[in-house]
Amino acid sequence: MNKLSTLHDAVASIPPGSHVALPGFAIARCAMAFAHEVIRQGINHLTLSQCVGAMDADILVGAGMADRLIYGGGSLDRFGRLSAVNRGIETGTLAAEEYSSLSVTFRYLAGSLGLPFIPIRSLQGSDLLRNLKERHPDDVAAITDPFTGEEWLALKPLLPDVAVALVSAADEEGNAQIDGPRWDNLEQARASKRTIVLAHKIISTEEVRQHPDRTVIPGFLVSHVVHVPFAAHPCSLFKAYDYDADHIRLYAEAAQNPESMQAYLDTYVFGVPDHAAYLAKVGGEELKQRISADPQRGY
């Protein structure tokens, strides 16, 4: 089935209030083009989740699109903190449910396998767990190992409405290939009701069939396939393009207070009609040349 779509239509399929699983890890493979379009369309009251908080979550929170973030902590690596997320937590405008990388992973994993709950060693003895028990008592529980009688912590499966996957290549059915490490993205797609794929490259189903071991997200999970080159800019896509350090610095600076964040959004999100125009604005062909990855090194 041909699921090729525009980014506009794919994003428009998400109702306000949805739970969206985001693909980024800090400054790698973030769904920036997706986040921009969500902001342009004003799809708000979202719940966002990802194992390690990344720039895609930060800009969505900074633009006021998200009420809730389920994550394991995060940053922009050496470029700084997730300023919009942190400000949301500090001022109370964002309900953050804070876990660790593995505990969010296990919640997705349980969701992906249709498990009713999953036991875990993490979180015990921490203030992360104390907060979760106080504020989200429906998501964590004590359970007794029926084989040994030992007490364990159990987590509830995470079941997003839609996962967004930013991939190296996909065919028109959504069979997707990802170069490099995949962190939580495969479990996100399998736990979610459906997946929207942003592909740097569209390949033929014939090519998918030549390399079936490379298909990490099967097409039957996918509702929309969108061809968006450089969709992660200013973040990187392994083997396709490097991160744009200058623009990340510009974002990290802007995100530090609401006024400069708004100015950033006015310029780079509201100030352009779509991702092609955004790319033209941030550097166009010269940028693409500059950040294009060396196929051997991957960056």
Partner: protein, 254 residues
């Protein structure tokens, strides 16, 4: 013998000494990367280095800005996922040593990377856990690397992101948690943990520092038993490897 080394270099070397050949090591970015690569290039060539997002044993030729930088994934033997690394290696119990850093550590090795200030009042939110809580909970032992300042080595920390020995004594064992912190390496000293109280215990002082230098710049008094030796300084070869091969641009050593 040379004194021509920085406190960071000594910390990295001390971290490397905690690693044995054949071990599996979970690493975050910064000094632990230097410590791990140094161990691997010297006494522990068969050590396995893991990054949580799905990277095993990379051989970077460029320094990275963080785990999300493809520079640190270069020439890895495996590119996989959180489930693979944090699930089937760390949670399974195969990680011998995990490195941790933080904003604050208390006398029981509990670590805060989440916030500064009072979480019930005004506070500044920071990075949070990432894989740190998982490493603190699941590794067979952890090594903490942290700057030696009173605002970092504190009687009480604002938030326990990654548990050490919790309230000390048998508190961690009572929760049936494996592992626990084995060393705290600062830029002035190395600490272990007292076998009974599970409080930090001074093991050695870095050359150039006095006992008072150590004690006056921390927020609690550690256990001290007997004479405290000086920390063994880095060798010329270790310094050469750090400076020429592992971190030539001083990205990690600050």
């Amino acid at each position: 013998m040379t004194t021509d080394y920085s406190p960071s270099e000594l910390m990295a070397v001390a971290g490397a000494r905690e690693l044995k050949d054949g071990q599996i090591v979970a690493v975050g970015l910064g000094l632990p990367v230097v410590a791990s690569f140094l161990a691997k290039q010297t006494h522990a060539p068969n050590m396995t280095i893991l990054f949580e997002l799905g990277v095993v044993d990379p051989e970077p030729i460029d320094s990275g800005v963080g785990l999300a930088d493809p520079r640190v994934w270069y020439r890895a033997k495996v590119h996989s996922s959180f489930v693979d690394i944090l699930g089937t290696v760390l949670h399974k119990g195969r990680v011998d040593v995990g490195f941790l850093g933080g904003l604050e550590v208390d006398q029981f090795g509990n670590l805060n990377t989440t916030l500064v200030g009072d979480p019930r009042g005004k506070f500044k939110h920071m990075v949070g856990s990432g894989g740190a809580n998982d490493i603190a909970s699941c590794a067979n032992k952890t090594v903490i690397i942290i700057r030696h300042e009173a605002r970092k080595l504190k009687e009480t920390i604002s938030f326990v992101t990654s548990p050490g020995y919790i309230s000390g004594g048998s508190a961690r064992a009572d929760l049936k948690m494996r592992g626990g912190p084995e060393r705290v390496i600062t830029d002035k000293a190395i600490f272990g943990f007292h076998p009974e109280t599970k409080r930090m215990q001074l093991l050695s002082i870095h050359p150039g520092n006095t006992l008072d230098d150590v004690l006056n710049t921390m927020g609690f008094k550690p256990e001290i038993c007997g004479n405290i030796p000086y920390t063994e300084p880095p060798t010329q070869e270790q310094l050469r490897l750090i400076r020429e091969q592992i971190d030539p641009t001083r990205m990690y050593m600050g």
